[in-house]
C-alpha cells in the first residue's frame, strides 16, 4: 500500500471493526464483547506459548496486561481492548507499496529469485541474464488479457487464481508485469517472509502479511476489512480463493467465501460513498505446471488423512532453496512452460462483463448491478444476501477454473496410466492400489498410447465443461506427448512417477501419478469415456 494510504487505512480498518462489533453487541446476548476479547486472548496466548519467548516478549506483555484488565473491565474497557487488539493486528498486516520499488522489484524477479535462492554465488550471478530470459521464455501468459486490461478504466480488479505451489504468487507477480497489468496486492503467508530477500520482494510487490497461525475472529476481521478498504481505494487485489494450495492436485471446486465476500462489501461501500468507479471485476485465472515443486509433499499430505490434511505446511520443498533452484533449472531444460491463463472477467455477482465494464446477463442484456444491492435506490448491506451472492460468484469462478484449466502432457499421461492401473486392478481400493501397485508393475507402451488417444478423443468430443489442452497436445502426436511427460517425470522428483524401459512403461511413484492425473478430475471423464450414460 502506498505510504499516503497506509495510515488512514489502518485507522479506517480499526474504526470499522470497533463500530461493527459495538453495534452487534447491542442486539447480541449479553457478554458479546467480552466473548470476543476472550476469544482473542485465548487463541493468541495459546499461539504465543509455542513462540520464542524472547522474540514475542512485547506481545506476551500486551496480552498479559489485557488479561489483567479483563477481570474488572467495563464496557468502555472492552471497547478499548477491541480497538487496541485490532490496531496491533492491522499494524502487522499492512504491507508496503512503492511504485518505484515495485517496478524495480518486478523486473528483477527472475534475477532476484535466482540470486536469493542460490545464496548469491558470484559465478551464478554471471548467468543471471540468461536465467531471466529463461523464465520469460518458459512462462506463457494467455487468455483474456486485453479484456482484463480494458477494465482498468472502469474499476478495480480482483484476480482469483487456482493455487498449486508457493511459487504461484511470484509467477503471477511476474506474469502480471509481463503483460502490462498493474500490480496486485495480496495476502501472503508469514512463512514466505522468513527469508529477508524474499521478504523484501514480497512486501514491495504489494503483499501484506497473513499469519495463518492466528485463529481468533478479530484477526480474520482485520484481514477482511483490510482487503475491503484496499479495494475501495482502488488497489487491485489477488486472493487465492481455494484458501490453500490444492493438496490433491485437483482444480479447486470448493472455495472459501470469507475473503471473496469482501468484494460485495467493498462494492456497497463504494456505492454508498458515491465513488466515481465503484465497480469491482473478478478475474479467475489458472496456473498449470508441467511439474509442481511441492507435488510429492502435497499429495502425501492429501493421502495421509483425507480431510484432515495440514492447513499450513512449512517444511516442504519451498523451504529448501536448493530444491527450488534445482526445480527451476530442470524445468528450464525442458521444452515446457508454466501456463498462466486469464479467464473472462466477471462482476462480483458472477455475471460476465464486456470491455466497457458493463455486466451482462446470460442473454447478453446489460445489467445494472447496483440494483442487486439497493432498495428503492439506496444501497445497503445485508450479510445473508451478500453471502448468497458470494456463493453464486464462487460457482461462476469454479466454472471458469474448470474451463480454463490447461492440461499438459504430464497430466494427460498420468491420467491415462492411472486408468490402466485401475482397470487392471478392479478389486483394489485406491489406497491399496497406491501402496501395492496391483498385479503388474508395467504396461506395454502401446496400451498407454491407446489409452491416451481414447482420453484425448473423449476430451475433444466432450460437450459442455472441458479443460483446455496445451498447444503441444493439440498436434495429437501421442508418442511425443508420452515421451515429453516421461522425460519430465524423470527429471525432478525424488522418484519418477513413471519410467520407460524397452517397450514397457513402469508405474513408479503412484502417489505422484494420482497427483498429476487429478488435474483432469471434475469433468466426469470416467463416465464419458465409458460411453456417456450408464
Amino acid at each position: 500500500m502506498r505510504p499516503e494510504d497506509r495510515e488512514r487505512t489502518k485507522v479506517e480498518v480499526v474504526s470499522r471493526i470497533v463500530q461493527e462489533h459495538v453495534e452487534r453487541a447491542r442486539t447480541a446476548p449479553e457478554g458479546y464483547l467480552e466473548t470476543l476479547v476472550n476469544d482473542t486472548l485465548y487463541h493468541e496466548r495459546q499461539r504465543l506459548e509455542r513462540e520464542d519467548r524472547r522474540r514475542a516478549r512485547d506481545q506476551i506483555g500486551f496480552y498479559d496486561e489485557a488479561l489483567r484488565r479483563m477481570s474488572h473491565a467495563s464496557d468502555r474497557d472492552l471497547r478499548d481492548l477491541v480497538e487496541q487488539m485490532s490496531r496491533r493486528f492491522v499494524d502487522e498486516v499492512v504491507g508496503n507499496f512503492d511504485e518505484r520499488v515495485y517496478r524495480f522489484a518486478t523486473s528483477m524477479i527472475p534475477t532476484g529469485l535466482w540470486a536469493l535462492l542460490n545464496a548469491m554465488s558470484p559465478r551464478r550471478l554471471l548467468s543471471l541474464e540468461g536465467m531471466r530470459n529463461g523464465l520469460a521464455n518458459h512462462l506463457l501468459v494467455q487468455g483474456e488479457v486485453d479484456h482484463v486490461r480494458s477494465l482498468l478504466d472502469h474499476g478495480t480488479l480482483v484476480v482469483v487464481p487456482t493455487h498449486l505451489s508457493n511459487l504461484d504468487s511470484i509467477i503471477l507477480g511476474y506474469a502480471t508485469y509481463l503483460v502490462g497489468l498493474p500490480p496486485l496486492t495480496y495476502g501472503a503467508g508469514l512463512n514466505l517472509f522468513t527469508n529477508p530477500l524474499v521478504s523484501f520482494f514480497m512486501r514491495n510487490l504489494g503483499a501484506y502479511k497473513v499469519d495463518r497461525k492466528k485463529k481468533c475472529t478479530l484477526y480474520k476481521d482485520v484481514l477482511k476489512q483490510y482487503a475491503t478498504c484496499s479495494m475501495e481505494l482502488g488497489y487491485h487485489n489477488l486472493f487465492f480463493p481455494g484458501g490453500t494450495r490444492s493438496r490433491s492436485g485437483e482444480v479447486e471446486r470448493k472455495l472459501k467465501k470469507g475473503l471473496l465476500g469482501t468484494s460485495v462489501a467493498a462494492y456497497v461501500n463504494n456505492l454508498q460513498a458515491r465513488r466515481a468507479k465503484p465497480n469491482l471485476y473478478v478475474v479467475p485465472c489458472t496456473l498449470s505446471y508441467l511439474l509442481v515443486l511441492e507435488g510429492e509433499t502435497l499429495i502425501d499430505d492429501h493421502l495421509k488423512e483425507v480431510g484432515k490434511s495440514r492447513y499450513i505446511i512449512e517444511d516442504d520443498e519451498f523451504s529448501r532453496p536448493r530444491q527450488v533452484y534445482n526445480f527451476f533449472s530442470k524445468l528450464m531444460s525442458l521444452d515446457a512452460k508454466i501456463v498462466v491463463t486469464y479467464s473472462a472477467p466477471l462482476d462480483i455477482f458472477g455475471n460476465h462483463v464486456d470491455r466497457e465494464g458493463r455486466s451482462l446477463d446470460r442473454r447478453g442484456r446489460v445489467v445494472d448491478t447496483a440494483r442487486y444491492v439497493t432498495r428503492e435506490g439506496r444501497p445497503y448491506h445485508d450479510a445473508q444476501r451478500d453471502a448468497e451472492y458470494t456463493r453464486e460468484l464462487s460457482l461462476a469462478i469454479v466454472q471458469s477454473f474448470l474451463q480454463d484449466n490447461v492440461i499438459l502432457s504430464t497430466h494427460l499421461v498420468a491420467f491415462s496410466l492411472f486408468n490402466l492401473l485401475r482397470r487392471q486392478n478392479p478389486e483394489l481400493d485406491l489406497y491399496r492400489l497406491l501402496r501395492t501397485g496391483g498385479v503388474v508393475d508395467s504396461f506395454p507402451m502401446e496400451s498407454l498410447h491407446q489409452e491416451l488417444d481414447h482420453v484425448l478423443h473423449t476430451l475433444r468430443n466432450t460437450e459442455g465443461e472441458r479443460p483446455r489442452l496445451d498447444r503441444l497436445l493439440e498436434g495429437g502426436d501421442t508418442q511425443a506427448m508420452v515421451a515429453d511427460a516421461l522425460r519430465a517425470f524423470g527429471l525432478y522428483h525424488t522418484r519418477p512417477a513413471a519410467t520407460r524401459r524397452g517397450d514397457r512403461v513402469f508405474h513408479e511413484d503412484r502417489n505422484l501419478l494420482l497427483y498429476y492425473s487429478n488435474r483432469l478430475r471434475g469433468y466426469d471423464l470416467g463416465r464419458r469415456m465409458n460411453g456417456g450414460a450408464r
Binding site: N351, D361, R363, V367, Y372, V373, D382
Partner: protein, 337 residues
C-alpha cells in the same frame, strides 16, 4: 413507473387463486393473463369463469395483458404458468426486469428437454437473482373456498421468503419459509408423477394398503431423485414433500390423479389429453424424470412404471405386476441415511 402493486404472472386456476389471496390481504394486485378475454373479464366483472368459475375476486385485483407493465409496476411477483411456457414468458419479461425484482414461481414441473428446474430457467432468462419457489399441499379449489392450508416458500435469499410471507400469509394460508430451493422444486414436480400412479390405484379400486405402499415408495424415489440434485432430504418430510404428495394423491380434484384414473379405465394418453384443457404437469414430468434417471443411472421404478403406462402402452396390470416382482432391499438403502 412506480411500484404500486404485487404481481401474478398467469391467470389459470392457481394463479387466480393466489391473486385472490393477495387481494384478500389488502394488496393492490396486478395479474397478467395470456388470453385477452380473461383479462377483460377480471377487470370488468372480477371473475375468471374459464378457470375458476365460482370465484369472485376482490376489487384490489386487476388484470393486464402487458408483461412490461407488470414488470414496471410490481417489485414482487408470483410466476404461475405451466413449465413448458415458463421460459418463453421469462425471456420476454427479462427485457423489463432488474436486480431489485423478486420472483417466486409456483410452477410444479421440470423443463422437458433440459431437465432444468424452473428457478434455473428464470436465472438463465432474466437478470433476477432474488428467486424463490412456492410449493405445498395447495389444491386451488380448496383454497378458493378459503379452507385452512399451508405452503412452503423456499429461497436462498431470506429477503424473498420474508416478502412472500408478508404478502401471502393470512388467517387461512400459512406460509412456511425454507432455503432448499432444489428440494421444494423437486418435491413439487415429482409428486405429480406419483399422483398419476395414485390415480391408477384409485381407478382400479385398490385399497389403502396399496395406496400407502405407493406413496411411501414414491416419497423414497422423490428423495433419491432430489438427493442426486443436491436437495436436503428433510425437505421431503415437509410441505413440499410429504405434504404436497398426500394432498395431490388423495384428492380426485387433482388433474394428474384424473389422468391416472382414466388410464386405469383403459384410455390412452392421447384420448385423455384430448378431453383436458388444463395441463396435467405429471404427464410431462414423467418423461423428463425418466430421461434423467436413465442418464444418471438412477433407479426409480415407480417413475419407470408411470412412463410405461403413459408412453409405451403398457397395461396397468402388467405395470403393477412388474413393480411387485422387484427384489426387495433394506428400506432407505438408496438414501444412505
Amino acid at each position: 413507473m412506480s411500484k404500486d402493486s404485487v404481481g401474478v404472472v398467469g391467470a389459470g386456476s392457481w394463479g387466480t387463486t393466489l391473486a385472490r389471496i393477495l387481494g384478500d390481504n389488502g394488496h393492490q394486485t396486478l395479474v397478467w393473463a395470456f388470453e385477452q378475454e380473461v383479462c377483460d373479464e377480471i377487470n370488468a366483472q372480477h371473475t375468471n369463469s374459464r378457470y375458476v368459475p365460482e370465484m369472485v375476486l376482490p376489487g384490489t385485483v386487476r388484470a393486464t395483458g402487458d408483461l412490461q407493465q407488470i414488470c414496471e409496476r410490481c417489485q414482487f411477483m408470483l410466476m404461475v404458468i405451466p413449465s413448458h411456457v415458463l421460459r418463453r414468458v421469462a425471456t420476454q419479461m427479462g427485457d423489463h426486469l432488474d436486480g431489485e425484482h423478486i420472483i417466486v414461481h409456483c410452477t410444479k414441473g421440470i423443463e422437458q428437454e433440459t431437465f432444468k428446474r424452473m428457478s434455473e430457467v428464470l436465472r438463465e432468462e432474466t437478470c433476477v437473482r432474488k428467486i424463490g419457489v412456492l410449493c405445498g399441499p395447495n389444491l386451488a379449489r380448496e383454497l378458493a373456498a378459503r379452507q385452512p392450508a399451508g405452503t412452503l416458500v423456499a429461497s436462498k435469499f431470506d429477503e424473498v421468503v420474508r416478502a412472500a410471507q408478508h404478502y401471502l400469509h393470512n388467517s387461512y394460508f400459512r406460509v412456511y419459509g425454507g432455503s432448499d430451493v432444489v428440494g421444494a422444486e423437486v418435491g413439487g414436480a415429482f409428486k405429480n408423477i406419483v399422483a398419476v400412479a395414485a390415480g391408477v390405484v384409485d381407478g382400479l379400486k385398490l385399497g389403502d394398503n396399496t395406496k400407502a405402499l405407493l406413496l411411501t415408495r414414491g416419497l423414497s424415489e422423490m428423495a433419491r431423485y432430489g438427493a442426486s440434485l443436491g436437495a436436503d432430504l428433510l425437505t421431503f418430510g415437509g410441505m413440499a414433500g410429504i405434504g404436497d404428495l398426500m394432498a395431490t394423491c388423495a384428492s380426485p380434484l387433482s388433474r394428474n390423479h384424473q389422468v391416472g384414473e382414466r388410464l386405469a379405465r383403459g384410455e390412452t394418453l392421447q384420448q385423455i389429453q384430448e378431453g383436458m384443457f388444463m395441463v396435467a404437469e405429471g404427464v410431462k414430468t414423467t418423461r423428463s424424470v425418466q430421461a434423467y434417471a436413465i442418464y444418471r443411472g438412477l433407479e426409480l421404478p415407480i417413475v419407470h412404471a408411470a412412463h410405461a403406462l403413459l408412453y409405451d402402452g403398457t397395461g396397468v396390470q402388467a405395470a403393477i405386476e412388474e413393480l411387485m416382482a422387484r427384489d426387495v432391499a433394506r428400506e432407505f438403502v438408496e438414501l444412505r441415511l
